[in-house]
């Protein structure tokens, strides 16, 4: 199968400052690929390159087999920029109608399409409300609906769930998964690991470089050692003591508990016994590491290695 979005050895710099270096990735039909990294890691730049708003310095970009700057491509791709790009003073209906117009739809087709999208996104009943008066969650659904008007084959989403409550975020993901099932290739930029975890594959960016690239499952499985949680009254006060404790690789305080990574080969029972004989009132539970946990663990060890050398 030919990937709908292909990036090969991409390099891009603003003047002398490198923004992206040696990036390669591909997205197939019916896949959501996460582009995850901190603000400034280069996510938005990569998306802008892929929608033809910037030109790469080196490397090859192909969207549906074409160069992203090719105007023929535009009717087949959808882009949701940060801040959505909606017209806040126009109503829901008008925003949709405008993008349908731009797509060159005839009136009848566009009316049907808009009705269908309103129903799918649960925005029916809000047709006449101005976009600026919508809640964050509804605004985001409208942005998605506007992107879908063109029936795109590829979609680029730039942190679409910022500022949105978790209920709406889940609703948004349900919509997005339906879009994926229709065979659309989706590249999804986010700073959140838990959203990356919902994607088919993950590309982690750090300072313009790909640091890891795999399925969420594989990324977690590659992580060394076991994660346990240590809980108990005032447990945070023990964090430095635990860092020196035998068998402990890393200790990360998270609210009222400590996430403790044990070195590989350390058995949970052994650790629990040793802990009990040194501190009282602490409870140890095994945790299934999430992608977030795994990422913290990996970043911490590479940072430690960096300091050691």
């Amino acid at each position: 199968m030919n990937a709908l979005i292909q990036v090969n050895n991409l390099r891009f710099a603003y003047g002398d400052a490198p923004v992206l270096e040696d990036i390669s990735l591909d997205v197939n039909a019916g896949e959501i690929i996460a582009l995850v990294g901190a603000d400034g890691a280069g996510k938005s730049t990569l998306l802008q390159l892929l929608v033809g708003q910037l030109k790469p310095d080196e490397g090859e970009l192909r969207v549906l087999g074409l160069n992203p700057t090719n105007p023929d491509l535009r009717s087949d791709l959808a882009y949701m920029p940060q801040g959505f790009g909606l017209y806040l003073d126009l109503s829901v209906q008008e925003n949709l109608a405008f993008f349908a117009d731009l797509h060159g739809m005839d009136r009848e087709h566009s009316a049907t399409k808009i009705r269908d999208l309103l129903a799918r996104t649960g925005l029916n009943g809000f047709e006449d409300r101005r976009a600026g008066q919508l809640s964050g969650g509804m605004m985001q659904k409208l942005a998605l609906a506007c992107a879908l008007v063109t029936e795109p084959k590829v979609m680029f989403l730039d942190e679409p769930t910022t500022g949105v409550d978790p209920v709406s975020r889940r609703a948004f993901w349900r919509l997005l998964e339906a879009v994926r099932n229709d065979g659309v290739a989706i590249l999804y930029a986010t700073a959140n690991m838990d959203e990356a975890e919902r994607c088919d594959r993950v590309t982690m960016l750090d300072q313009g470089q790909v640091i890891r690239q795999d399925t969420p499952l594989a990324l977690v499985a590659e992580t060394e050692g076991q994660l346990v949680s240590v809980q108990g009254k005032g447990v945070r006060g023990y964090r430095d003591a635990l860092r020196e404790f035998p068998g402990v690789a890393f200790v990360f305080p998270v609210g009222p508990r400590l996430n403790v990574w044990l070195h590989s080969g350390i058995r949970l029972e052994t650790f629990r016994e040793q802990l009990a004989s040194n501190f009282s009132g602490l409870e140890v539970q095994p945790l299934t590491p999430t992608l977030h946990d795994a990422a913290v663990r990996q970043l911490a060890s590479s940072e430690e290695a960096g300091r050691g050398s």
Partner: protein
């Protein structure tokens, strides 16, 4: 260029307008407001206009006429002169705004059914000067009537210094129309582009099949329609409310106005692209269209009387050409074909602006 894209943008722009009550007010009220403001506010009554008097011989009649002037609400005699140099100096310095010269042989002339009274007016304020003239005429006529000299013609020789080309009140209205169109055209257009740049919409539009020219055209069409609507309202008001005669061809006037409107709209678009924010764009377009249309177009101040530097500056003010054209069409009924220099100048400015706007748009990566 796809017509549907242009239509999509134009339709969207229309929606924006209908939503934005402030813009709507501006569009609907601005032309009539400005027209009333200038045409009426400028014709406010004069009271106690400082007047100087030069009686070349003091006779009963000349004293009576001076007393009539002094007794009127409109004038107040503040100085008596014995020679013309003094009088001229005072007008020049603004100490008096009008001067009455009663000739030596006034009594005789009146008896012989002729006569000449000279009224000298400070023409800097063309409007007051015009009013002063009317009042002066009325006062003298009234005097003559009471003296039983009704049928005697008497000429007031008004010599307007500084603004020799002063025209009647009719001249104001075509100028107002120019100002209205300049403001509506440039201000509205400048806001619309900047708004699109301020929000993140452009980023999104760039990934659609829309082209730059479709975008520009689509955005300009609604404002063109509105600008022409305003032109129509202002012209109808001028003809029917202010009794300004439209002596020339209405079609010629419309065509010339459309040309001018496109020029100022391009000006607004350019400012908008340069400014990038609505606030700045609005300020820039007001300063660069309203003020020149008002001050440098020949509407209020005659261009010939401006300092040389300013006269050259007016050459790049589109309103200058438009005011000249519309005045001639309105008041003199001249065909634009006769005054083709102005038309060609406007066309030249249009082409230059069009080029600069497209270049700037390309440089900004606008679509």
């Amino acid at each position: 260029m796809k017509l549907q894209h242009v239509r999509a943008i134009a339709r969207k722009e229309w929606w924006h307008l209908l939503r934005d009550s402030r813009s709507l007010m501006l569009i609907l009220l601005m032309p009539s407001m400005l027209l009333f403001l200038f045409a009426y506010a400028l014709s406010l009554d004069i009271t106690n206009l400082p007047m100087g008097v030069l009686q070349e011989s003091h006779t009963a009649r000349s004293n009576a006429i001076v007393a009539r002037f002094d007794g009127s609400n409109a004038f107040e005699v503040v100085a008596e002169y014995t020679n013309r140099q003094q009088l001229q100096a005072d007008i020049q310095s603004g100490k008096v705004a009008a001067a009455l010269v009663l000739p030596r042989n006034l009594d005789q002339d009146l008896a012989n059914q002729r006569g000449q009274i000279q009224l000298i007016l400070d023409g800097v304020d063309a409007n007051s000067a015009r009013l002063a003239e009317n009042y002066a005429q009325a006062i003298i006529n009234d005097y003559l009537r009471t003296e039983g000299l009704v049928n005697l013609p008497i000429e007031i020789e008004d010599r307007v210094w500084y603004n020799e080309a002063r025209e009647s009140r009719m001249a104001i209205v075509p100028g107002v129309i120019a100002v209205v169109m300049a403001v509506i055209g440039a201000l509205m257009t400048s806001l619309t582009f900047a708004r699109e740049m301020e929000q993140s919409n452009l980023v999104m539009l760039r990934t659609t099949a829309l082209t730059k020219n479709e975008f520009l055209l689509g955005k300009l069409i609604p404002y063109f329609v509105i600008g022409m609507g305003d032109f129509l309202v202002a012209t109808l008001a001028a003809v029917y409310l202010f009794d300004v005669p439209l002596r020339g061809s209405p079609i010629a006037l419309t065509l010339v106005s459309a040309l001018f409107l496109i020029v100022v709209m391009l000006q607004g678009a350019l400012l908008s692209l340069i400014a990038g924010t609505q606030m700045l764009a609005a300020q820039m377009s007001l300063v660069s269209t309203f003020l020149p249309a008002f001050l440098l177009s020949g509407f209020v101040f005659a261009i010939e009387n401006m300092p040389q530097v300013l006269q050259y500056l007016t050459l790049i003010v589109p309103a200058r050409y438009y005011v000249a054209l519309s005045k001639l069409i309105f008041l003199k009924g001249v065909s634009p074909l006769v005054i083709w220099v102005e038309v060609v100048s406007l066309c030249a400015i249009l082409l230059v602006l069009l080029r600069v706007v497209t270049l700037k748009a390309r440089k900004l990566g606008l679509l």
